[in-house]
């Protein structure tokens, strides 16, 4: 399944080692921020939820995880963000984040194969 992740731009701009470095930071960001998102939704804290979604959107956009970025941005700008619906949104974003990390792992594995061939 493609979730719109497009790491090609990264590969174009950076060396494989640098791509691995950035994607490693991204993975840590995603895990930290999705945990914070889930916590904010459980607390029905829409303000924190928006701020964390903003950070997650920025991280996702930077590496090309477009579906994750779009989902975060769609919710962080919603004026009618009802605290009651936050857990559901957090779950959906968490799923997109996991999928992005899977695609990311596949992309890094591809880089590794290319490196070995070279």
């Amino acid at each position: 399944m493609s979730l719109g992740a497009d790491f090609a731009q990264l590969a174009e701009d950076l060396s494989p080692d640098d791509v691995r470095q950035v994607l490693g930071v991204f993975e840590r960001d995603v895990r930290r921020l999705t945990a914070a998102l889930v916590a904010a939704s459980a607390a029905h804290d829409a303000t924190t939820f928006r701020r964390v979604a903003h950070g997650l959107a920025g991280a996702a956009g930077a590496v090309g995880a477009k579906s994750l970025e779009s989902a975060c941005r769609a919710h962080m700008v919603r004026a009618d963000l009802d605290p009651e619906v936050l857990p559901g949104i957090a779950t959906k974003i968490e799923q997109l984040a996991d999928a992005a990390l899977v695609e990311l792992a596949a992309f890094v594995a591809g880089l590794d194969r290319q490196s070995r061939r070279a």
């Binding site: 701009d13 950035v22 930071v25 701020r51 920025g58 991280a59 930077a62």
Partner: protein, 538 residues
């Protein structure tokens, strides 16, 4: 690598984005530091002085625009490129309004970053190169000053050196040497140039109003305070407060100023509210400040607070060829205004200008040149015969003929004077004062003088001219009528012009400013009165 190595500070709270920017920038050869919030970014910018800052707007502690304003307030002039996910017109407009070099909308790739950053650093490099060239070569112009004499080059260098700091500047110099211009030069050369320059003439403000003028007041603070009013201190927040003629400030006000200088805080008159501002102090006086301290007229503690960087402006007579450079500048300016064809000064006029010792300094030179331009319609070159007698005479006799003490008042502008009103009705032309007689060829008419202006006296001038004192305008009997006497409008006009000239020590531009008319109008009126015969005019 696309540019010369530079210091780039990345202000970004999302680690993925910060890391990506770091890798892009190090790949371009730059030295990079990362700040995850506005607070650490400000500390790094202060200590590290980056060439460029990539500034995210959504930060966890402060808005990026607030950080941007603070950087500029503190004189950190790094090129700023705003990086934002909010590509709205309003956000981008605000970024550009604050002086950002460019903006990048997230997400961005390496090229989107390299292009504006490269341009910003190139511009910064060129500016620095230009500044180095400017500093290296002797300059004959600086922030409104004209002249490249060694004395002025030293002044320019001090102003350049002190501009970037917040240190107080104390300007001294004779009247007419350009103290306010120097204060403005300090402000314009400083990182505060984008904020207000507020000038207060401490000698021109009534003693009772000075505190209110400096610190403002609240409604009801005193009779007539019908509303809150900001003072100069508040208006100059982030900028420069220029206190001219500080030696005239009453001692009780000096105490309040000292507290303000020490703490940066003050209370508006009538209020207990403490306000804090960030101002740079520039002061000026035409007196010797240390002598004022010794005489007990100026507080010693305030003196040491303000006299941090002294700038002494040389009198014009010590500026050598600057006299001609300035005279030519004024000639070009006034000739354009008055639609004359003058191209410059003839050698005899140049010799006279250089030889004269200009007790009224640049202001006097300005008056003389305007006078020449207004009164002489024909010719391409200003020759010595067009210059007023004091200049020509001293020029002929040598500069040593007229010493000029520092406290000497500004001499009068050269202009044909109107008669004393007491003589206006003299019916016999033979009784007319000498200035009403036709001027001899190539000798300009005499100057308006006051009796205490010995430098315009001449053995060849008639006594009535040398001792001429315009009578007090509107000097009516002590019991003034409720309604003023009705006199012809032309008479009233002349009286007002004469009064303004007396009030300003015959400084025509200042008199004209008081009257809110053009200086050339004053010159023309004076010339016309002489030509028409004043005894017929009243």
């Amino acid at each position: 690598m696309t540019d010369a190595p530079a210091r780039v500070l990345v202000v970004e709270d999302t680690p993925t984005q910060a890391e990506l920017a770091r890798i892009f920038l190090t790949g371009m050869g730059h030295e990079v530091r990362l700040a995850p919030a506005a607070g650490p970014a400000l500390a790094m910018a202060r200590a590290w002085r980056p060439d460029a800052i990539l500034l995210d707007i959504e930060l966890p502690d402060f808005n990026g625009f607030e950080l941007f304003k603070q950087l500029r307030t503190e004189g950190i002039d790094s090129e700023v490129i705003v990086i934002t996910a909010d590509g709205s017109h309003r956000a981008l407009k605000e970024a550009m309004r604050l002086g950002a070099w460019d903006y990048i909308v997230k997400p961005y790739n390496k090229l989107a970053l390299a292009t504006p950053l490269g341009q910003a650093l190139k511009k910064r490099g060129l500016e620095r190169q230009l500044a180095r060239v400017e500093e290296a070569r002797p300059s004959d112009r600086f922030q409104g000053f004209i002249g490249g004499s060694p004395a002025m080059a030293a002044v320019y260098q001090i102003i350049r050196s002190v501009a970037a700091s917040k240190a107080s500047v104390f300007i001294t110099g004779e009247s007419g040497t350009g103290k306010e211009l120097a204060a403005e030069a300090v402000h314009r050369s400083s990182p505060r140039a984008g904020r207000e320059f507020v000038a207060l003439n401490c000698g021109a403000i009534p003693r009772d109003l000075l505190e209110s003028e400096v610190f403002g007041h609240v409604k009801g603070a005193f009779t007539g305070a019908s509303g809150d009013r900001m003072g100069a201190a508040k208006l100059a927040d982030g900028g420069t407060l220029f206190l001219d003629e500080i030696g005239e400030m009453p001692l009780e006000m000096q105490v309040k100023l000292l507290r303000f200088v020490q703490t940066g805080t003050f209370s508006p008159v009538g209020s207990s509210r403490i306000e804090r501002v960030d101002v740079r102090f520039v002061c000026a006086t035409n007196r010797d400040p240390m002598l004022e301290v010794q005489a007990g007229r100026f507080r010693e503690d305030l003196y040491y607070r303000l006299y941090v960087v002294p700038v002494e402006l040389p009198p014009l007579r010590e500026r050598g060829a600057d006299v001609l450079a300035i005279a030519n500048h004024f000639l070009t300016q006034f000739a354009k205004e008055e639609k004359r064809k003058f191209k410059g000064f003839a050698p005899d006029a140049e010799a006279a200008l250089v030889a004269y010792n200009w007790p009224g300094n640049v202001r006097q030179l300005q008056n003389v040149v305007r006078n020449v331009v207004v009164l002489n319609r024909d010719g391409d070159w200003v020759d010595a015969s067009m210059l007023p007698p004091p200049v020509v005479r001293v020029g002929a006799a040598g500069a040593a003929a007229a010493p000029a003490p520092a406290s000497m008042p500004v001499p009068p502008a050269y202009a044909p004077p109107p008669p004393p009103l007491a003589q206006e009705r003299a019916p016999d032309p033979s009784q007319r004062p000498a200035w009403e007689q036709p001027a001899p060829p190539a000798v300009a008419p005499a100057a308006i003088v006051a009796a205490d202006r010995p430098w315009v006296q001449s053995p060849t001038a008639p006594p009535s001219l040398a001792t001429y004192v315009p009578p007090p305008v509107m000097a009516r009997p002590a019991a003034a009528p409720e309604e003023p006497d009705i006199v012809p409008l032309a008479t009233m006009e002349r009286r007002l012009i004469l009064a303004a000239l007396r009030r300003t020590n015959s400084d025509v531009p200042r008199a004209a400013a008081l009257l809110e008319i053009n200086p050339s109008t004053v010159y023309r009126k004076l010339q016309n009165w002489r030509a028409e015969g004043l005894h017929d005019a009243d």
